[in-house]
Amino acid sequence: MRVVVQEAPFDFAAEAAGFADGRHDMGAVVTFTGIVRDVTSGDLQAMEIEHYPGMTEKALTAIAEEARQRWSLGDVLVIHRYGRLHAGDKIMMVATAARHRKDAFEAAEFLMDYLKSRAPFWKKEHAGDSADWVAARDEDEAALTRW
């Protein structure tokens, strides 16, 4: 299990390959990657991600541990960036390895649902002349009731 919180970009290809390589016991690997989306149709100058150093690592680790308890997993990886990002930049990724695809998929969705609403990150979109904090979506909170 690896949980990383960093300002620097991460190499999605290398991380995904490193995670999936050399496994003889796990038949299924799922990855999720979150990418800065320009919802302002070309106007996005930056996405600023603020976090709570110390608590962030603890919260992500607790979520990953919870996933390992609920599903039969061979491994879990969580990487999340903070700082100033731009459209097309990768914000974060999770990866799960399991014997069967159901566990790998469900655990990855669980990780995403929890880290969306329970890990201390906040996003601010700088577009045109304005800068707005991204509001939490009701459906993200609702997604937690599934688990």
């Binding site: 608590m55 999340h80 914000i91 890990a119 201390p120 996003k123 601010k124 904090w133």
Partner: protein, 81 residues
């Protein structure tokens, strides 16, 4: 104890962190003390349903005890991922 603010709560109050001496027993009581200080606190804490709180880096609710706590943080709902 240290009181931390994030995102628009930080912007509204104007500092990311401050040292607060208090005898408040709960998060709510601490919020009431802060609100009474200055308008910027009253504005930031106007609607508690729009806020979340962590005591010693654990998410909790406004009724939670803060006895012995080292660090209280206030922030809007999180938007990770």
């Amino acid at each position: 104890m240290d009181v931390l603010y994030f995102a628009w709560v930080r912007e509204r109050i104007g500092v990311p962190k401050e040292r607060v001496e208090t005898d408040a027993a709960t998060v709510s009581a601490l919020v009431d003390e802060l609100r009474a200080r200055e308008d910027r606190y009253a504005a930031a804490f106007a609607d508690l349903s729009a806020l979340r709180v962590a005591v010693d880096q654990e998410l909790t609710d406004f009724d939670a005890s803060i006895a012995g706590a080292r660090e209280i943080a206030f922030f809007p709902p999180m938007t990770g991922g």
